[in-house]
């Protein structure tokens, strides 16, 4: 089979899985539905491997396969078709997406076991994977937007999965609305591209762009900025990031899959995919890198103080995606995409561990209430520590190599790009600190009640309440199920976590400076046209970067160890000292309030004005006048319609006599 056939199969399996699960929910048991979901993703993963093998069997310069399944019909010479592009970048993304999704599906089979909406969950989840694969395999901007909107919908459906929870449905709406802002940016970018270049296929666009645009011409800068609006909304970069922490209302596997490993990296993929355009608009690329830097820094600081376990990891995700955005924007394409993969492993792993802990806490997510789970949850403890080590960039783990690949590139490019390296290392210090803040506060310290009970073999089983607002719930469909599942007691959960744990530990070794450069060679056909791709930090510089990274991460871990283990009261004193700073961080820099004040309230005020003034006086006024005129005229005519036949006859006769008189007078 050719590479593109495998590409179509990658798309077909998850779609078929989603439809099958959705249609047979009355026929098959919950577990079966879960395994159908796992199977379809596994087949997609195998097909992606098939595409990879096919691609590698071709000479490097021919690794760009396109295939059109169906032609929607062109207009004005611009083709619109259902076409895919199979090249190293899209195959790499398809492998990461389907591979990580497969493990998260396996995990979900165990984790969602007690939920009444089990079939629906897997149907949505498979649909999401299909949409995401469509996004990465799309061969033109139109199909990209289709996939882009599909993942937005899947994210909405899964954030609001517990649809009887008001907080969850509101979070879903927020995620959807902000993502639609991004979609609009993307649509406008596509319209401008069609107008200027007359093409939608990637290859045609990238071929014609250098002939049409001069560097930094305003049109291409505008196109790139519009693409960035889409990328930032999807990838939760400031200022369009506020939906991501709220999206943690969804079930934990959803957070792991959509809001950590795959969908939020779509923006990174888009920037990497459109690198020839950004190459023509260095200003837009610099803006993008700067936004990434601000995001990675601010999100890392917020992650140090929030107390909701999943929100800590969500802010961490924003921060890590910020690294990737910086990477692909400044030209470290390999580094950014490498970090995308390793991050998918360790962040999904952290979320899975968090899900296990939250289940042990009977859905309580506040780390202030947790502590001492080390003995009672040994498996979760070990795997989450692996994830935290990789997140912190501890020497030898996956995050260690990928993060430093970006930062070493930034330092090597020099000039203003040094600031990205410095900011990145400072944020890496914060990252190490908050990663181990999670570990030390959840697994060490004084044992909480749930941990003690669990050591006695008793899994906590609280009353069903919404952890956000404490509202009472039940166990029926639309709310979380009655049973909780922890990794220690569920082998599918352990299987999913173990595989990702191995990835988080060892995935870094495919791209070690001076030793091997698997990814760099693999991506060469895609990025070789970019002059930035030729900047490769020397082995010595890279290893200096890695050394700095090690020191930074160990210092951060040590600080967390000191503050939470050696001197447990120290954090309270620091909090007392920097109360204002803490409040600013704890309130997430008031971004939500800022959006409320700048967008939400003015729009609501405008609506109220329209209702109270425009509607009441202008619109209704016109209606009243029109109606009055019509009835007034009608009353006059009505009087003639008396119903007396004889008066009608009188009118007729009078009319005839009148006419006769008129003609007589006129004739004489």
């Amino acid at each position: 089979m050719s590479g593109t056939t495998y590409g179509w199969l990658v798309l077909a399996f998850p779609l078929a899985g989603s439809i099958t699960i959705g249609l047979t929910f009355k026929l098959v048991s919950a577990r079966t539905a879960g395994w159908i979901g796992v199977g379809s993703i596994a087949l997609a993963f195998l097909a992606a491997i098939g595409a990879l093998v096919e691609l590698l069997s071709l000479p490097a310069e021919e690794r760009e396969l396109t295939s059109v399944l169906y032609d929607y019909g062109g207009a004005a010479g611009i083709p619109f078709d259902l076409g895919i592009l199979v090249d190293p970048l899209s195959v790499y993304m398809a492998l990461v997406v389907s591979g990580v999704s497969m493990m998260i599906h396996v995990y979900s089979v165990g984790y969602m076991g007690g939920d009444r909406g089990y079939h629906r969950f897997f149907a949505y989840l498979n649909f999401f994977v299909f949409s995401m694969l469509l996004l990465v395999l799309a061969g033109n901007f139109v199909l990209l937007i289709v996939g882009w909107a599909f993942v937005g919908y899947a994210s909405y459906a899964l954030v609001s999965f517990w649809y009887r929870r008001e907080t969850a449905t509101k979070a879903g709406m927020k995620a959807f609305v902000i993502n639609v802002i991004g979609d609009i940016g993307l649509v406008f970018a596509a319209i401008l591209l069609i107008k200027e270049l007359g093409a939608t296929e990637y290859l045609a666009v990238f071929e014609r762009a250098p002939e049409t645009f001069t560097t930094n011409e305003w049109t291409i800068v505008a196109i790139c900025l519009l693409l960035l609006v889409g990328a930032f909304a999807k990838s939760a970069q400031i200022p369009l990031h506020t939906w991501l922490p709220d999206a943690m209302e969804g079930p934990t596997p959803v957070s792991a899959l959509i809001h950590a490993a795959t969908m939020v990296t779509a923006g990174v993929y888009l920037i990497a995919r459109a690198h020839p355009l950004f190459g023509l608009a260095p200003t837009a690329a610099d803006i993008s890198a700067f936004v990434g830097l601000v995001t990675l820094f601010l999100a890392a600081t917020v992650a140090m103080v929030v107390t909701d376990l999943k929100r800590i990891i969500a802010y961490s995700t924003m921060s890590q995606v910020g690294y990737m955005v910086v990477g692909v924007s400044i030209g470290a394409f390999t580094g950014g995409l490498f970090h995308l993969m390793t991050h998918a492993f360790f962040k999904a792993l952290l979320f899975m561990g968090a899900g296990s802990v939250i289940a042990a806490m009977a859905n309580n997510q506040n780390i202030d209430d947790m502590g001492g789970f080390r003995k009672s949850m040994p498996f979760t403890f070990v795997l989450m520590t692996i994830g935290a080590l990789a997140l912190a960039g501890f020497t030898g783990t996956a995050g260690f190599f990928s993060k430093d690949e970006i930062l070493a590139y930034a330092a090597d490019r020099g000039g203003i790009y040094w600031s990205f390296a410095i900011g990145g290392y400072i944020a890496a210090f914060f990252t190490a600190f908050y990663a181990f803040r999670i570990i030390f506060r959840v697994f060490y310290g004084e044992k909480c009640e749930e941990a003690r009970e669990l050591e006695g073999g008793e899994l906590a089983h609280g009353e069903p309440v919404n952890p956000q607002d404490g509202e009472a719930e039940d166990y029926d469909v639309g709310f979380p199920g009655e049973e909780h599942h922890i990794a220690e007691r569920s082998w599918p959960m352990r299987a999913g976590m173990a595989v990702l744990g191995i990835g988080a530990l060892f995935a870094g070794y495919i791209q070690v400076p001076g030793v091997d450069a698997v990814l760099e060679h693999f991506f060469e056909p895609v990025f070789e046209s970019s002059p930035l791709f030729e900047i490769v930090p020397s082995t010595l510089d890279s290893w200096i970067g890695l050394a700095v990274g090690s020191v930074v991460s160990i210092t951060g871990i040590a600080l967390a160890y000191y503050l939470y283990i050696v001197a447990p009261g120290a954090t309270a004193r620091i909090l007392e000292r920097f109360r204002g700073l803490h409040r600013m961080l704890f309130n997430k820099y008031w971004f939500d309030e800022l959006q409320n004040a700048l967008v939400y309230r003015p729009v609501i005020a405008l609506g109220r004005f329209a209702n109270n003034v425009v509607e009441r006086y202008l619109v209704q006024g016109i209606v009243v006048v029109a109606r009055g005129t019509a009835t007034g005229l009608g009353d006059i005519v009505k009087a003639a319609q008396s119903g007396f036949i004889r008066s009608y006859a009188m009118f007729v006769l009078a009319g005839v006599v009148g006419l006769a008189l008129y003609f007589l007078i006129a004739a004489s």
Binding site: V637, K638, A639, Q641, G643, F644, R646, M650
Partner: protein, 99 residues
């Protein structure tokens, strides 16, 4: 004989008919008066036809008679229907369709 005598008679008959339509309330009498008006017109047609010596007016009179016959059929049918439903045979009472 001069045609004007016939015309005077015709005008008189027409006025009597019109007066009857306007003042009487019984539908039957109103129908009779309408016939009177039609036939006064017929008389004028025939008088002119004779005086001018051609057949146009006579054909016209025949057509008026046909129309009059149809009108009487409809009118009497209505009156019979009203009678059967025990509605008052008074045109001033039948004014449900006023505006």
């Amino acid at each position: 004989m001069d045609v004007s005598w016939y015309l005077v008679l015709s005008a008189l008959l027409f006025s009597v008919g019109a007066f009857g339509v306007l003042v009487r309330r019984s539908p039957l009498v109103i129908l009779l008066c309408l016939e009177l008006m039609l036939n006064s017109a017929n008389l004028a047609f025939l008088a002119f036809a004779r005086s001018l010596g051609d057949q146009d007016g006579q054909i016209m009179a025949m057509m008026v008679m046909v129309v009059a016959a149809c009108e009487v059929v409809v009118g009497l049918g209505l009156i019979v229907a009203m009678y059967r439903r025990r509605l008052p045979l008074d045109v001033d009472e039948a004014r449900e369709l006023h505006g």
